[in-house]
């Protein structure tokens, strides 16, 4: 009888590392072949990329110990057989990549804005933050502070947006576009589903028009046509015009994403809200939108990431964002030919931001349990 009561361990082959390997990597022979092939590719690739980016790379000094000031001094140009990436170009140009042509004496303002941006994002990212309410107040006024801090006014000397560049422009465009497009997109989505024909037609027209043209066209529209619609004497800043174009573009896409969420809400929810005597706005704010937006998190993040990457298109209208600064660097005769390093760096920065966004969306989905079927039963 004792033997019967003894707890038997599961077979070795289904638990632990071996079990995991068997189930996930070597389940059958095709599976095993693919695994071996991928391992072989990684084996070929990883040592090479590590060697190129880190072990053989120059950071500030070349292998002779000299500080690198132009591409000819890079180890890989002095001795093509050895030497990896020449990160000195990033080191020397780091200021431009982060701040563009912002005057050096005023750069503390950009740094302060970067730090404040982090504080403004905190309460949005972590719902459990202590004193979250006060942090949120700060988040609401942050755009105003940032505007005066970066642009000037209130005792700060003015720094024309023409001097902004690099990551600063990328973040200003990305953050403003995403932040403004969200409320506008919600209004458009509600408008398109409205039962008032004028409103629904106007919203539909707007959305379809904006979605029907490429972002580049809108950027040109903002750059060239927008000033013509403004009264004489009003000189709209170039960056602002691009911001308008980016925001319009993003809000049309956001509207469709949120409309998708709205359509997933069962009619019973509307009826229940109405039977409680709620007005249109109370119903949407308290019942419908919280559910609709929760469902739409993955596509919202998707379009936001898309916009963040699309901001690189502003180079077409002559604004030097992170990628633009990279290209400008490549055109300097001192740094000709270092395109691998520069594009690697730029894509790394973009990856950090977009990967961060997508991880955050996963965290949100888990927290809000979007997978659970809501309301229907």
């Amino acid at each position: 009888m004792n033997e019967m009561n003894e707890v038997r361990k599961p077979p070795v082959a289904t638990t632990g590392i071996i079990g995991w390997l068997r189930i996930n990597l070597f389940f059958n022979w095709t599976n095993s072949l693919i695994t071996l092939f991928v391992i072989y590719c990684l084996y070929q690739f990883i040592p090479w990329i590590l060697d190129w980016t880190i072990f053989s790379a120059d950071f500030k000094y070349n292998y002779l110990g000299e500080q690198i000031t132009n591409q000819e001094m890079c180890s890989r140009n002095l001795d093509p057989e050895n030497g990896g990436a020449c990160w000195a170009v990033i080191y020397v140009r780091f200021y431009q990549f982060i701040y563009g042509f912002y005057p050096k004496v005023e750069v503390w303002r950009v740094n302060l804005a970067y730090i404040m941006l982090a504080f403004a994002l905190l309460p949005l990212l972590y719902a459990k933050l202590p004193y979250r309410k006060y942090f949120l107040y700060f988040t609401y006024i942050f755009p105003v502070i940032a505007y005066f801090l970066l642009n000037g006014g209130f005792g700060f000397t003015e720094v024309s947006t023409n001097k902004w560049g690099g990551l600063l422009v990328t973040l200003v465009l990305g953050c403003t576009g995403i932040a403004l497009a969200f409320p506008i997109g919600i209004m458009l989505a509600l408008g398109r589903r409205s039962k008032l024909p004028v409103i629904s037609m106007m919203c539909t027209l707007f959305i379809e028009f904006i979605r029907g043209v490429p972002l580049i066209t809108l950027l040109f529209f903002g750059m060239v046509m927008l000033p013509l619609f403004l009264p004489e004497g009003i000189d709209m800043d170039g960056l602002v015009r691009v911001l308008v174009a980016v925001t319009l573009f993003q809000s049309a896409y956001m509207a469709e994403v949120i409309r998708g969420g709205l359509q997933a809400i069962p009619p019973g929810q509307y009826e229940a809200a109405k039977s409680l005597g709620m007005s249109y706005w109370r119903m949407n704010l308290l019942i419908i939108l919280p559910q609709a937006i929760r469902i739409s998190i993955p596509p919202i993040v998707n379009t936001s990431i898309g916009l963040f990457k699309d901001t690189t298109l502003v180079i077409i209208v002559g604004i030097l964002d992170l990628l633009g600064i990279g290209r400008g660097t490549l055109a300097d005769t001192n740094w000709l030919g270092l395109s691998y390093e520069i594009y690697f760096f730029v894509s790394l920065v973009f990856f950090i931001f977009t990967f961060g966004m997508s991880r955050y969306s996963l965290y949100l989905e888990k927290k809000l349990k979007t997978g659970i079927n809501m309301g229907a039963d």
């Binding site: 750059m223 013509l228 170039g238 209208v317 030097l320 660097t329 000709l336 030919g337």
Partner: protein, 334 residues
Amino acid sequence: MKKLLSIFAVVAFAFSAHAGTLDDVKNRGFLKCGVTTGLAGFAAPDDSGEWAGLDADMCRAVAVAVFGDRSKVEFITTTGKSRFPTLASGEVDMLARNTTWTISRDVNLGFEFVGVNFYDGQGFMVPSALGVSSATELDGATVCIQTGTTTELNLADFFRLNGISYEALPIETNDEGKENLFAGRCDVYTTDASGLSSTRAAASNPDKWVVLPEIISKEPLGPLVRHGDHQWGDVVRWSLNAMIIAEELGITSENVDAQTSSNVPEVLRLLGVEGNYGEMLELSNDWAYQIIKQIGNYSESYEANVGPDTPLEIARGLNALWTQGGILYAPPFR
């Protein structure tokens, strides 16, 4: 797209047609000059964020002529597509943006090219291992070519005229052309000769590549302003001419002070010691002196930015003075 842009340009022009750019610039306190977003040797930001290059010097020369200060200029970056609307709408006072002077741009778009600061032309670059010494020997070659450009049409014309065939490998950007050529996916890369030089300079071993002697198109690049403001056009035109004349007369940024006591009449006129040419342009009388002092003559700017001692290694060629076998020629200063 091109048609649409020119309509934009014309509309924008109609709305912003105002004379007195010089007064606008003076009132504003700085010049707004449209340059490329980065082109080796012509305009690119250096490590400290200052714009440098042949076109950037052109902008600075105009700023010096107006303000006597090379720093009184704001560089506005423009692309091939945005440059004309930007100029037409008055967002920049002038363009020094590696722009080819053609009849349609001069006449139809309503601009005025005030001169040529670089004579360029379409050329070919091949690996030296190919053993080719002339473009006419390129029968059957694969050519990397930027699509939708005039270079594409020139290429087709050239090969047809010479009765030889080629296979085109379409590319979008200069970088792409460079990568394809270096990887051996095409035998020949064709674009403007200055672009070829910068591509060659970017190679890990520039000696492995040769630029063939044939130049198959005329690409006179020069600064331009809006139509209809001749006074401003004159300021830009003569800022460029002053640099060329200074080279002719042997005045450099180093000897310009000594030259003010020269006994050559044209030198004295140029430097503002005699005559009132500055006044005619509504500038100070020492405007040309200041350009030479702060920027240098044409040769100094050329040598510093694109000349044989720079990584671009572009020989003077057509851009030498007319007295030295080139076609650089400025009207007399009198």
